[in-house]
Each structure stands twice: as C-alpha cells, then as structure tokens.
C-alpha cells in the first residue's frame, strides 16, 4: 500500500537541517531506490519544481512556497500512481499558487491520480475532474464542476434592453423558475432560469416577438461558492470569504484513506 501512494500534508514534512537535495535523496533511499537512482530522481524533481538554485541550501532558510514545492517533490520521489494532497496551496502567494497549479496539472497529464482537499473553491473548479463536497464529515454532493453547478439549478439570466418595455417581464416570466426582477429603471431584467439547450435563442425570440429591443443577454452560471452555499445552507458574504459551515484545517486524508470533516475533496483522473 505504502508503495503506491504519496501524501503531502499541510505542514511541510521536511528535515530542516538537511539541504533540499539531501531531503529528497534521503526520502528516495528510504523508499528503496538505489542511491544513484535517488540522486537522479531528486535532480529531475528539483528541476521540475524550479528549486535547482536552492538545492544545496538547508531547508530552514526556504520560503513557504519553496517548502511546499519541495514537500510535493518528496511525495513524488517514488512516482506514486495515487497522490494525496492536503491543501497544497494554502498560505501561498499568488505566484507560488499558480506555479503549484501548473505542477498539479502536469502530474494529472502524466497519469497520476490525484486526491486533493482544498478550501478554495476556485481551485477545485480550476483543477478538478470530480468534486465531492464534504460538510460535517459527510459527502453532501459530488460530480464534475459543471454537474454540481447545474445541480443547484439556478442560473441567472440578465437581459439589457435598449429602452424599458412593458411586455418584457411577462415574456421572460415564461422561462423563469422564480420571480423576474427589474432594475435600472426597467432597462435591466433578471430571471432565475434552468439550464436547457437553445435557451438564449428562445429567450431572444420571445422578446423579439413581444417587440422588445435587446442590447445584451447574459447567462450567469453559479460559482462553486454559490454551490457550496446552497448545499450547506450558509450564505457567503462579500466581506468574508471563509465558510462558516467549514470546520477549519484538519488533516482530512489519513493513512487508512479516511476523509475527515469539512472540505472540498477533488479527484482528478487522467
């Protein structure tokens, strides 16, 4: 079992007194690689993670992003076919985060099956093929990002009119799953709609038949934040991007493969 999985936790599991290269070689050797093979693999990963320049320095002096990357490199020494990542980008600056995303996408492209937990819904959205939403220790929804967004139903149709028109709201009401809202003195209409093929065409045609001139029509898909809020019953507010329903930071992935409370789990498979 231990030969087939790699794990990267939130806390870097590196030896501070060893250099980056020494860390990787040690882990490689303890993973039963020959010394020469461990050195070769370490050099390869240090290159992949852009850590060559720091390879000879002791880890104590590494930045947070460098530690994360070295930690992930350590998990990859054995080329595990299945890799567990626990919040790989928490606390990273935007550049390091993008770099980590690039590495993760590369791994998936190489055929690694990846399990990652994250609290950043945009991260799950950007990286995941499959998402499971976990709330209070239970999987409350799972599917592709598109399926999850579709499952919550509510897409929002926004129509911008050239001029206010009395028949516009009635024409839209035929498509709406709830009340149609009118803003901007009647120039802008909002309607919750259900996703279906040819929706925009049908809406435009109906408005045209009612004699309404349309400047712009847009359908807003829900973000995963909306999905999460709908699923857990929490309301994400603009000021506070953390989710009340999400217990903060635990170690969701344990050795027995169990998943603990409160996070979005994402599996990407090639």
């Amino acid at each position: 079992m231990r030969r087939t999985i790699g794990v990267t936790g939130q806390d870097a599991t590196l030896d501070d007194a060893l250099s980056g290269r020494q860390n990787l070689v040690m882990i490689g050797q303890l993973s039963r690689l020959r010394r020469a093979e461990a050195r070769r693999r370490a050099a390869e990963l240090l290159g992949l993670f852009e850590l060559e320049d720091a390879a000879g320095r002791i880890v104590k002096g590494y930045s947070g992003g460098m530690r994360r990357r070295l930690d992930l490199a350590a998990s990859l020494m054995m080329r595990p076919p299945v890799l567990f990542l626990d919040e790989p980008t928490t606390g990273l600056d935007p550049t390091s985060r993008q770099r980590m995303w690039g590495v993760i996408r590369g791994l998936v492209a190489d055929g690694v099956t990846l399990w990652l937990t994250t609290q950043y819904l945009d991260e799950a959205d950007a990286l995941a093929d499959q998402i499971a939403v976990i709330d209070k220790g239970r999987v409350i929804a799972q599917g592709t990002p598109r399926e999850l967004k579709a499952a919550t139903g509510s897409q929002l149709l926004e129509a911008t009119l050239t001029a206010p028109h009395a028949a516009a709201a009635a024409a839209l009401a035929a498509f709406a799953t709830g009340a149609v809202r009118v803003t901007d003195g009647g120039c802008r209409l909002w309607a919750p709609v259900r996703s279906e093929s040819g929706l925009s065409t049908a809406v435009l045609r109906a408005l045209d038949q009612a004699g309404v001139l349309v400047d712009d029509i847009a359908i807003h898909r829900p973000s995963l934040d909306d999905v999460f809020a709908t699923l857990t019953g929490a309301t994400p507010s603009g000021e506070d991007p953390t989710f009340a329903a999400v217990p903060y930071h635990q170690t969701p992935v344990r050795e027995d493969g169990g998943v603990r409370d409160g996070e979005i789990t994402k599996g990407a498979q090639a």
Partner: protein, 287 residues
C-alpha cells in the same frame, strides 16, 4: 500511465523478495540512511556534540584537579588513577540524554510524518538514532581517554584488557541510549525530555562509586550505590584497566563480580528497553 509503471522497475532487485537476507539488507540500508542523516545534523550544529566533546574534558580536569586535590583513597592509590574510569562512565551515562532529546525532537517535527508514509522499516528510525549516538559515545570515550593520558593517567593492564574495558563502557552506554529512547518518547517534547532525563540520569551517575568509594556513605545509601549499574560498570573498568578499585572489598555481588555484573546490567536494560521502545514508537506514531 507509462511514467507511473516504471516505478516497479526502479526498485532494486530483491527489495520485494521475501528472503531473510534481502529483508535484512534493506533494513540495514534504512538504518544507515537514518544514521547518516543524524550525523549530518551534528555536522550542521557541532555544539550538539558539546556533551561528548567539551564537557568530558572539563569534567575530567575539574574532578581530578579540584576535588582530587583533597581526596585520600582508603587502601592507597592515586585519585587520578581511581577517578578516570569513573569519569568515563559518568560522561557516557549523562551524554545518553542526547538520545531522548534528539528522538523527541524528531517525533515533534513534521519529518516523522513523512517517514511514516514511506515503505521503510519503522525500527530504522530508532536503531539509526541509537547507532549515531553510539558513535558519539565512542568519540566521548576517545576524548576522555586522551585527556586522561595527557594528564598522567596510566592503565596497568594489557591492551586487550583496556579495550575490553572500553567495550564494556560502550555497551552500557548503548543500553542507556535505548532506555533514553523510551524516556524521550514518553514525554511531550524536547524540553521536557531534557528535564526529565536529567532528573533520572544525574542521580544514577552520582549515587555510585564513580567519584568516591561507597565505604564512606551512610549504610542505606551505600547499599543503593553498590547495586547501582553505574557502580558495576565503573568497577569493571577499573578492574580491566588495572586501576585502584576500593569497591573490590565490598561483599555485594556486583562489587565482587563487576565485569559480569556490568555486562548483565547492560543486557538486562537492553532486553527491557528495546521492546519497550518499539512499543512506545508504535503508540506514538499511531493516530
């Protein structure tokens, strides 16, 4: 999936074999990697070694010149000749504290979590630690012996007998290293390890015949000191070095058979603390 499937090809031949020899070899490989890692730590922070380098020299000089100046040994003999074996045993005893501190540090930092995910032998962490500390003890022994020779201590026995004495000392040190591994894993962190271990190791080293013959102690204390493993080891070394050993006239069994007693004590401590350390390690690393 091609890059993934190469994983099995990169494993050394025999790593997956069930042969005892192959398993032993990969176990030893793990132990050696861990030992080397501990040695790299020492190279990074040489002051870690002060308890086996500077401290032995200081203690040897202090005790021999400061206390030794007022000591008169019953039954004759120079205090210098008497004290050196005792100082060696004391230094070997107290420096094993390093095992407790080092191990509890390893267990409280993240690196242990990484090691746990690897297919390595878990016992290699303990054995690697005790082996690198045995090397440190050998360094300590060399330094005490060289300091002794420099200030005029002379063994009065064959080279083989002197080397046997050093081996008995190192065996005892190795057994205490395992006992300290147990203590290190029973406490919360490195600081508590340091504290608790000093409470245990210092009385162990001092309530003995290391610095003074036990004959002058109150009867109850002398009894404790005569049966203290440290006294047996110090007497064994004095006997094997051919140095004065006033304890040889004491009737207590360990004082009559100090070499046998020293080896038995060491083996007994190992027999108890090696399995206990394994148990504590498993308990400590289980979630």
């Amino acid at each position: 999936m091609s890059s993934v499937n190469t994983a099995s090809a990169t494993l050394p031949a025999g790593a997956g074999a069930s042969g005892l020899f192959a398993r032993l070899r990969s176990w030893w490989g793990d132990v050696w990697v861990m030992t080397r890692r501990n040695l790299i730590h020492i190279r990074r922070e040489p002051m870690q070694l002060s308890d086996v380098t500077i401290q032995p020299v200081l203690f040897t000089l202090l005790f021999i010149y400061v206390f030794g100046s007022a000591m008169v040994l019953k039954g004759g003999g120079s205090y210098k000749e008497f004290a050196l074996a005792g100082l060696l045993v004391m230094n070997l005893t107290t420096s094993t504290v390093g095992t407790a501190v080092g191990l509890s540090m390893d267990l409280t930092t993240g690196v242990i979590n990484r090691l746990r995910t690897l297919p390595m032998s878990p016992t290699a962490i303990l054995v690697g630690r005790t082996l690198s500390d045995l090397l440190a003890a050998a360094l300590c022994t060399t330094i005490v012996v060289v300091t002794g020779l420099a200030i005029g201590w002379r063994p009065d026995a064959s080279l083989a007998s002197v080397l046997a004495g050093l081996a008995v000392g190192l065996l005892f040190s190795f057994s205490l290293t395992w006992a300290n591994a147990c203590l290190g894993m029973s406490v919360a962190g490195a600081e508590s390890a340091q504290g608790i271990v000093f409470i245990v190791m210092f009385p162990l080293a001092f309530v003995s015949n290391v610095f003074v013959p036990t004959q002058g102690m109150p009867a109850w204390l002398a009894t404790i000191a005569n049966w203290n493993p440290v006294s047996a080891v110090a007497s064994a070394l004095r006997t094997l070095f051919g140095n004065p050993n006033p304890s040889s006239t004491i009737q207590a069994w360990p004082m009559q058979h100090p070499v046998t007693a020293a080896v038995c004590w060491s083996l007994l401590i190992l027999a108890v603390s090696v399995p206990l350390a394994g148990h504590l390690y498993r308990r400590r690393t289980r979630d």
